[in-house]
């Protein structure tokens, strides 16, 4: 026990000696949390739409006004020909084209039906789907209005009334959704890199050789190396929660104790992973690359940006090995849904198994040899 305390004292002295490290550890994650939470959003606003109106009639202007009235669209241009519109779409000046055929009004009045065309830049598939859906809903709305105004005798009423209510995030606020996830990312990155770089740094400097001739036991060394970063990451997570609550107004429905309890286990996984990387590498460069390799895969597959459920089956299988994925789920559930332990027990036990595994591996791999 005393030995561990001496190691802790030494580690903290080294961490706090370096001013640059303090900035990296404490300031950068907070800046990242602030910036990412405001910017990492899938909401689509200000879609630039160009209108090609071949009809120039009362009804076509009505339709255009509908688009103008939507906050989702910005009228960026009016073109006379399809070619001009296509060119603008190609250059990326506009995201969407609305083309109104000649005789739009006449056809409507005469035949009761007319055609418009919507072309969407679909390079980003999910954004395109959203833009199309918006355009579609405006057109539906316009349709219905026509029916009501021009054919009042039909008495159109939807046979099924749909009431949508969004639970857990009623305003569909992306910040609410992203902050709990980004918070997980930040403590993961800090934890994995700090622990990953630490032991390998001692290898590079040669100080590990002096440690290896002392009677320090493996478990004392591992605890002494992990605990400082665990404490720092716990502090950071708590601080992040405060920011989430008071700067981003993210609701915190669940128990904070439960949240801190789960993050404490999760951090053992992350730090154990970093330490393991540290034990299998010889230079900080190698450790950095290996950590990044896993980190990028884990982050992109974590469900932070894209739902895990829509990934292919094999990817979901791979994801059972992704600790970030488990913890983002847990963290979102606790914060946004107020979930209790039994709601995420399975994910939690997976993390516990993972933590035991990583610690065992790193104690096993750390050899007191030179």
């Amino acid at each position: 026990m005393r030995t561990i305390l001496y190691i802790l004292q030494k580690e903290f002295r080294q961490i706090f000696r370096e001013k640059a490290m303090l900035i990296i550890i404490f300031i950068i994650p907070m800046v990242q949390l602030t910036i990412l939470s405001f910017t990492a959003t899938f909401e689509i606003k200000n879609t630039n739409i160009a209108i090609i109106d071949h009809d120039h009639s009362h009804e076509s202007r009505n339709l255009i006004r509908k688009f103008e009235g939507s906050s989702f669209f910005t009228m960026s241009a009016f073109y006379d020909s399809y070619e001009q519109g296509a060119e603008a779409l190609k250059k990326g000046k506009v995201h969407q084209l609305l083309i109104i055929q000649p005789n739009f009004e006449k056809d409507l009045k005469r035949d009761g039906k007319a055609k418009v065309m919507v072309i969407t830049d679909a390079i980003n598939g999910s954004a395109a789907a959203i833009m199309s859906a918006y355009a579609h809903s405006i057109l539906m709305d316009f349709n219905k209005q026509l029916l009501v105004e021009d054919f009042p005798q039909l008495n159109v009423n939807d046979p099924i009334q749909i009431t949508v209510s969004n639970w857990y995030n009623p305003q569909l606020n992306y910040t609410t959704y992203m902050v709990p996830g980004i918070l997980v990312l930040l403590v993961t990155i800090i934890g994995m890199f700090l622990s990953g770089m630490n032991v390998v740094k001692e290898k590079e400097l040669g100080t590990i050789e002096q440690i290896n001739v002392t009677p320090i036991k493996k478990y004392q060394f591992v605890i002494g190396k992990l605990l400082p970063f665990w404490i720092i990451a716990m502090f950071e997570f708590s601080f992040g929660l405060v920011l989430a609550r008071f700067i981003f107004g993210v609701p915190m429905l669940g128990s904070i104790a439960l949240q801190l309890g789960t993050v404490s286990v999760y951090l053992i996984v992350v730090l154990g992973f970093g330490l393991f990387v540290s034990t299998i590498t010889d230079t900080m460069q190698q450790a950095m690359f290996i950590s990044w390799f896993f980190m990028v895969i884990f982050i992109l597959m974590s469900g932070l940006f894209t739902p895990v459920e829509s990934m292919p089956d094999w990817a979901q299988t791979v994801n059972t090995l992704n600790p970030i994925s488990y913890f983002i789920q847990i963290n979102r559930m606790i914060m946004l849904k107020g979930s209790v332990f039994s709601d995420f027990a399975q994910q939690f036990y997976s993390l516990v198994i993972y933590a035991v595994l990583m610690l065992t591996l790193s104690v096993w791999r750390y050899r007191k040899v030179a």
Binding site: Y6, Q9, R17, E18, G206, I208, Q210, V369
Partner: protein, 249 residues
Amino acid sequence: MTTNRPNVIEVRNLVKKFGDFIANDNLTFDVKQGEIFGFLGANGAGKTTAMKILCGLQAPTSGDIKVAGFDVYHQTNKIKQNIGYMSQRFSLYEDLTVKQNFQFYGGIYGLSGKQIKERTEYFLNKLELSHVANKILKEIPLGWKQKLAFSVAVLHHPKIVFLDEPTGGVDPITRRQFWEMIYEAANEGITVFVTTHYMDEAEYCERVCIMVDGRIEAMDTPSALKNKYEVTSMNEVFIRLARAQSTEQ
């Protein structure tokens, strides 16, 4: 005069191979308590490998080896409690102060807070380095750092201290002081196992063992070796042995 003292290091048929390369070829020797035992050889002769095996940093390929009464295969942690070690490469923490380094290593070896304080003061006074007690190691000259590294290695009063080329890159005056420290440690009953390739330092040892290409070519007191080869300095002894080796090849 060394005959009555017990052996603290017993090595029988030590072999260490790295693949096909034989770093240590069948070494057999004993070191007695309180002895200053010099391990000499050219670069790559296998000195450091042998020393690392004795410190429990590497496992031997074969052989019976006991250090401080403990077996190097299964009791490395007990060996480590009883030895001090100073690496070829400076390996104290450069980003901690002198005092903090003493405190850390004292703590690791289980000294009490009071003992750490007393011994730190004792060594700093002896080395006349009290004025740098609170400086970080990065800021002090190499010669001083080497002396501090030696003090840290004997801080817990080990049975044996292993010094791997301790005076590399150090000026002659500091080297001289360094050997005074070694003598003092030996007088206190600490066995000193030192590797070097400075042959003038070999003269300071009670007994030397000269390694050439992984084998022990000669082992005796410096004066006996000089008599045997009919030369006046250890330098000549070494050159004879090394030259004999190269003509054989």
